[in-house]
């Protein structure tokens, strides 16, 4: 058991983070906290990609300029897989954009309702519905 966990330590961390994020999204009624949970959830996926690109003993995939210029690159050198890093760079940008749109919406919700708690919002909408007559 301990061995299995130690071997897959990175995945254990990722799963815990993922569940923490998802739980925060579901459990809290506060819209900002919900966005925080969403960000944690997304970040755990970034870690999943980054950790899978790790190659044991691998160096960062950056060629030394001098070695490359004189054609002295070591053909047996081991590098980490650069592709997931690049993908996650894109995913981070997407995450930031989502977060900023979400926060902008929270600001507008607070202007319109005067609250960012889910139950207060539901109550306000419900009483509006009653006023209009169901």
């Amino acid at each position: 058991m301990v061995e299995v966990l130690a071997e897959r330590f990175n995945y254990a961390v990722i799963i815990i983070l993922m569940m923490v994020g998802l739980y925060a999204v579901i459990a809290t009624g506060n819209l900002v906290k919900r966005l925080v949970g969403l960000s944690i959830f997304q970040t755990s996926v970034f870690l999943l990609y980054i950790s899978m690109s790790k190659v044991f003993g691998g160096a960062p995939p950056i060629f030394d300029y001098k070695e490359m210029a004189y054609d002295k690159l070591d053909p047996n050198a081991i590098y980490s897989n650069p592709l997931p890093h690049v993908l996650i760079l894109t995913a981070i940008v997407v995450g930031v954009a989502t977060l900023s749109v979400g926060l902008a919406l929270v600001v507008r919700i607070r202007e319109a309702y005067g609250s960012i708690e889910d139950d207060t919002l539901a109550e306000a909408d419900y009483s509006l519905e009653l006023e209009k007559g169901v």
């Binding site: 996926v45 749109v101 319109a112």
Partner: protein
């Protein structure tokens, strides 16, 4: 390239990428403009250009013609990002771009009615980004690129839905809920793609398909598939994951609802077809089992429960939104059947549903402009006041029920046929129950529209329905009728699409 090409060769060679790039590039000047009308012109130009490219691509991939592969930036696939167009997504692109053009005609008067003057150009700019994103999802042949386009289309969608706040502040909370759920869905999709990359080391869909065929029974691949299915299912509003949809459709501006109802869930649904039948394959026992034992029961539950929920709505747009969830159930049932005939029926219903919901939501937009009404009881007697709009609405509603000589009948007919071929009598029963429920909820609206007298002291017409709305509305409504009688073109389109989904992935 084959017969039927009408664009110059220099343009046609780059059609797959221009289709996405032109709207995306036009969105920047549209945002910088002051005048909403000029921005509308740009949006229209972008959509019409995309429509022309879509026709070109559709003609080039008709019949047995092989799919078109486009290497972005001349980086050869599988290393570079590939745009791939075959029978399946050519049909979807045609639907998407045609809906965009028709919806934009409707947009000009509708947006002037609902959106503040200084926000209109930004509104059209956001629309162009959504449109480019959806077109990108439909054309790309790269799994991670699909995620990026999915989010490019989703993020401005949240903003567009929130624009409905000028009419009803609940648009804000609905948009927020959609944002949270949509992001979870997209993230699930990325997790799934990550697992596939772990197992295969590639992101190109054709390459994935070839390598996955050797990985039968691999647990990592199966988990990846499950994550992708759930993620795209959330975006497609598959039954238990549909909670964002009614609010978003009910409170968004009329134009946004019309466009989204005709396109957004359809594109996610296309993603499911692409991954389940092209990248993975139904011969894979895991995929087939998850369709038979997970998707089919959910589809049937969605068809019946969402239709029943629609019965109890007092807001007509909410009613139609719940009906949309039920219609997604029909499409999913087509996939659940898991045969080529089933997928063809699913794609056929996808095309037809875009026509009927497009007409219905556009008619609701017309009612909202001229009388400012949304609730069922306020529809009393409007049939006499607005006969043409009401007739168009009625055509859409009849098509939704599946009355013979409408497109709704055609797709239900093919769906039932596919279910019977598989020997699934229970699916046929479910389709019939859901159709009966559709009769009831459509009846509630139609009886108020045509039979009930206009009450004394009811609000007077604010303005007459502009021709810019009547034109596309009539086109959509009559399409329901024309293709219902003369169904061959759309049936062919759906069958080519299903054949492409089943046969394309194996050989590059």
């Amino acid at each position: 390239m084959t017969v039927g090409q009408f664009l110059p060769a220099a343009l046609a060679a780059h059609a797959p990428v221009l289709l996405v790039a032109i709207p995306l590039i036009l969105s920047a000047p549209a945002a910088a403009l002051k005048s909403g009308r000029t921005a509308w012109g740009l949006a229209m130009a972008g959509s019409v250009a995309a429509f022309l490219f879509a026709i070109e691509l559709f003609l080039a991939t008709r019949g047995d013609a092989p799919g078109i592969s486009y290497a972005l930036g001349n980086w050869e696939p599988p290393v570079g990002i590939e745009f791939r167009v075959d029978g399946l997504n050519a049909a979807l692109l045609l639907l998407l771009t045609a809906s965009a053009v028709l919806a934009l005609l409707f947009a000009l008067p509708s947006v002037e009615d609902e959106i503040d003057k200084d926000k209109r150009s930004l509104f059209y700019s956001a629309f162009l980004v959504v449109f480019a994103g959806l077109a990108g999802v439909a054309t790309t042949g790269d799994a991670f690129n699909l995620f990026v386009f999915l989010e490019i289309s989703s993020i401005p969608t949240y903003a567009l839905i929130a624009m409905g706040a000028g009419q009803d502040r609940r648009a804000l909370t609905s948009s927020f809920n959609y944002l949270v759920m949509g992001t979870i869905g997209a993230t699930f999709f990325v997790i799934g793609v990550g697992f596939l990359y772990m197992a295969t080391g590639t992101l190109n869909m054709a390459d994935l398909a070839a390598r996955l065929s050797e990985l039968h029974g691999n647990r990592v691949v199966e988990i990846g598939f499950a994550f992708i299915l759930v993620g795209l299912g959330l975006k497609a509003a598959l039954f238990p994951l549909h909670l964002w949809l009614p609010g978003a459709y009910a409170y968004a501006p009329s134009f946004v609802t019309t466009f989204l109802a005709a396109t957004a869930t359809k594109v996610a649904f296309y993603g499911i077809i692409r991954f389940s039948f092209d990248v993975f394959s139904v011969e894979n026992g895991f995929v087939l089992n998850s369709f038979t034992y997970v998707i089919t029961p959910l589809a049937i539950a969605g068809m019946i429960i969402a239709s029943a929920q629609a019965l109890f709505q007092s807001d007509v747009r909410r009613l139609l939104a719940y009906s949309s969830v039920a219609q997604v159930g029909y499409m999913m049932l087509g996939l659940g059947i898991g045969t080529q005939a089933g997928v063809a029926a699913g794609v056929l219903h996808l095309i037809n549903h875009a026509m009927m919901k497009g007409a219905l939501f556009m008619a609701l937009g017309a009612f909202a402009i001229s009388y400012g009404v949304r609730r069922i009881e306020n529809f009393k007697g409007l049939g006499q006041a607005l006969p043409v709009t009401s007739a168009a609405f009625t055509l859409g509603a009849l098509s939704l029920i599946g009355v013979p000589f409408t497109v709704g009948f055609v797709s239900k007919f093919y769906l039932i046929q596919a279910a019977l071929q598989k020997g699934w009598a229970f699916a046929v029963v479910a389709i019939l129950i859901s159709s009966v429920l559709a009769v009831f909820y459509c009846y509630r609206v139609l009886v108020n529209l045509w039979v009930a007298p206009r009450p004394d002291g009811a609000s007077r017409s604010v303005q007459r329905v502009p021709y810019m709305i009547l034109g596309p509305l009539l086109v959509l409504a009559l399409m329901n009728l024309v293709f219902g009688v003369y169904a061959e073109p759309i049936v062919n389109m759906a069958e080519t699409a299903a054949a492409a989904a089943f046969n394309a992935g194996v050989a590059p």
